[in-house]
């Protein structure tokens, strides 16, 4: 089966979902989400049966790279995060219904819910395509498929001012970054005379390349990618959008959108890193952005009071570690050093597991803890030991404690910086990691060792079965990847 069928199947599934929503009278539209999850699980299974094509030239292969392990890994990440986001969305349904219901008499009580389950599929198809895009056109189109879907999803709660505000902010800044991206693409085309990444790489590696124009193009593209990745100083939208968006969408944004931005960054930056006339300046710029991102993300997370906002700054911080791996890449000369693609892939895999686990806990606690304020998580261990345990595992992994997936993610990133001799970068990363220990573990401590406030509800909290299973699986995977990181690395090499 050709690999690009996977994206087509996901898009078709999304269309089917929309049609079913429009023409079939469903009592409970949550069955749409279950259908989507089922379909995505099947596609995830098909991922293991794709074959490399005999020839990867002409036709669609001009826009779509032949499958390699990295692209298949990222497709898997996209599918997995979409499945988990849909599980979260099922839990989150009452809130969406309350904010989008049609007030007219006789309307379906869940009118306006169907698209909430169908849209993530289109985003997923875009994310999957992006991991294989090898041409500026397909990179642009897949990136925009994802972005436009996310504009809708972020602003989905159309009677909630917070969600709309987040949607508008995301829309304006996302469109701004698109402007930078296409202008950068135009200049990149002007410098290299080529639109596919292989041709761009060849043209940039030549001696006579116009370095000023090439660096201008690089700067424009880096600005756009920094927006999407949430790297400082272009991270300002992240906290507001993460806080305002519906929790499942926040989770999807922080994982899916970041993974896709990272893989695009990897592909777009590597031609510049492989070019001898440019590599010095490009690395310096990347290192500066990485240092800024590490410090800003982790230090700004310290005083946060809202859980989603804290995770937003934490996601900025994690972008810093990803950029650190990229900035350190070209100078690695040690034998057996991992390639930046492997490090970034592993980091994103670990990041997906732990961030989605944290968001699963938040969204399944949405009914019991409405405000997402950190204080209301005090004494959670007494009310729901399972939720508290899951959150502890997620926080430990995000902080990078040994025996969790996050530890090896950080370790590999540090290793790259050490091998490359980027000492300033390393110093910033150490400060960032230390700050991370404080604010992540603060939550764990307050869940177990603080008594709940007097006015707080102290009743026990139940877990929905599907969510419970998902949380348990994620916890096991985090610990598994923390004990035997080779399992994930094996998928990448």
């Amino acid at each position: 089966m050709p690999v690009y069928y996977l994206e087509f199947i996901v898009v078709a599934l999304g269309l089917v979902l929309l049609m079913v929503d429009a023409f079939v009278k469903l009592e409970d539209k949550r069955s749409l989400a279950r259908l989507a999850i089922l379909g995505l699980v099947v596609v995830f299974g098909l991922l293991f049966f794709v074959k490399a094509p005999a020839t990867a030239e002409g036709g669609i292969w001009n826009f779509y790279a032949a499958p390699d392990k990295l692209s298949l890994f990222f497709k898997g990440l996209a599918l997995l995060s979409t499945i988990l986001v849909l599980i979260m969305a099922i839990d989150y349904t009452p809130l969406v219904v309350a904010q989008t219901a049609n007030p007219e008499p006789g309307a379906h009580p869940q009118a306006g819910l169907g698209e909430f389950f169908a849209l993530p599929l289109f985003a997923c198809a875009g994310l999957m395509w992006m991991s294989s895009a090898n041409h500026l056109v397909s990179i642009f189109v897949s990136l925009e498929t994802v972005s436009i879907t996310f504009y809708i999803l972020v602003a989905y709660l159309r009677r909630n001012v917070g969600s709309l505000e987040a949607g508008v902010k995301y829309l304006i800044l996302g469109a701004l970054s698109t402007g930078f991206l296409v202008y950068g693409f135009a200049w990149l085309f002007g410098v290299t005379g080529s639109m596919d990444l292989a041709g761009i790489g060849e043209a940039l590696a030549k001696e006579g390349v116009n370095t000023t124009a090439a660096l201008f193009a690089f700067a424009l593209i880096l600005i756009a990618l920094a927006f999407k990745l949430g790297a400082a100083p272009f991270h300002l939208w992240i906290p507001d959008v993460y806080q305002g968006a519906p929790t499942p969408v926040t989770a999807f944004l922080s994982v899916g959108s970041k993974a896709a931005a990272a893989v695009v960054t990897l592909r777009l930056v590597s031609p510049f890193l492989a070019s001898t006339p440019l590599v010095g300046k490009v690395t310096a710029v990347l290192a500066i952005v990485a240092i800024l991102t590490l410090l800003v993300g982790n230090l700004a997370a310290l005083p946060q009071k809202n859980f989603k906002r804290l995770l937003a700054y934490s996601s900025v911080g994690h972008s810093g570690f990803l950029l650190m791996a990229l900035a350190a890449a070209p100078r690695v000369s040690v034998e057996n050093a991992m390639s930046p693609a492997t490090v970034v892939g592993f980091y994103l895999g670990a990041y997906l597991l732990m961030t989605l686990l944290a968001f699963l806990v938040i969204s399944s606690l949405r009914a019991a803890i409405p405000g997402e304020e950190l204080d209301s998580y005090r004494g959670l261990a007494k009310r729901s030991p399972f939720h508290a345990a899951a959150l502890v595992v997620a926080m430990a992994s995000l902080a990078g404690i040994p025996l969790t997936a996050g530890f090896f993610g950080k370790l590999f990133a540090f290793q790259m910086a050490i091998d490359a001799g980027q000492w300033w970068l390393l110093a910033a990363a150490l400060v960032a990691a230390a700050a991370g220990f404080y604010y992540y573990l603060k939550i764990a401590v307050s869940m177990y060792f603080s008594a709940p406030g007097k006015e707080d509800d102290t009743s026990a909290i139940r877990v929905a079965p599907l969510t419970g299973i998902a949380m348990a699986v994620l916890m096991i995977l985090i610990v598994l990847a923390g004990v035997a990181p080779g399992v994930i690395i094996g998928l990448l090499l």
Binding site: V137, I148, R158, E165, Y183, A186, G193, M195, P239
Partner: protein
């Protein structure tokens, strides 16, 4: 006077700068949105100019034109979604002034 690549690049660069300045300075969401479109138009002009002056076997490099059409299409989709969000915001807040959209802060 003969038109060279530089003329086109200056014009498109100016367009991009005007668009960017508009996004940063203006407060009305609709005007900001128009300025964003201006930035995309600048990119389109750059693409076409590079393609026209980048002859491959006597023909312009048509790859750039393909990207241009995709940019136009995607921009239209973005406007459709964007205006819907702005209308929804206007319904609930009765304003399109970005400085009034600030319930979430540090």
């Amino acid at each position: 006077m003969e038109l060279t690549l530089n003329h086109f690049l200056f014009v498109s660069g100016a367009l991009f700068a005007i668009g960017l300045a508009g996004v940063l300075v203006r407060r009305n969401l609709l005007i900001i949105f128009m300025c964003l479109e201006l930035m995309l138009a600048a990119a389109n002009l750059t693409l076409v100019a590079f393609s026209r002056f980048h002859l491959v076997e006597g023909q312009p490099a048509y790859d750039a034109h393909v990207l241009l059409f995709f940019i136009i299409t995607v921009a239209a989709a973005e406007v459709a979604v964007g205006l819907a969000i702005i209308v929804a915001l206007f319904r609930s807040k009765e304003t399109t002034d970005v400085t009034k959209v600030n319930t979430m802060k540090y």
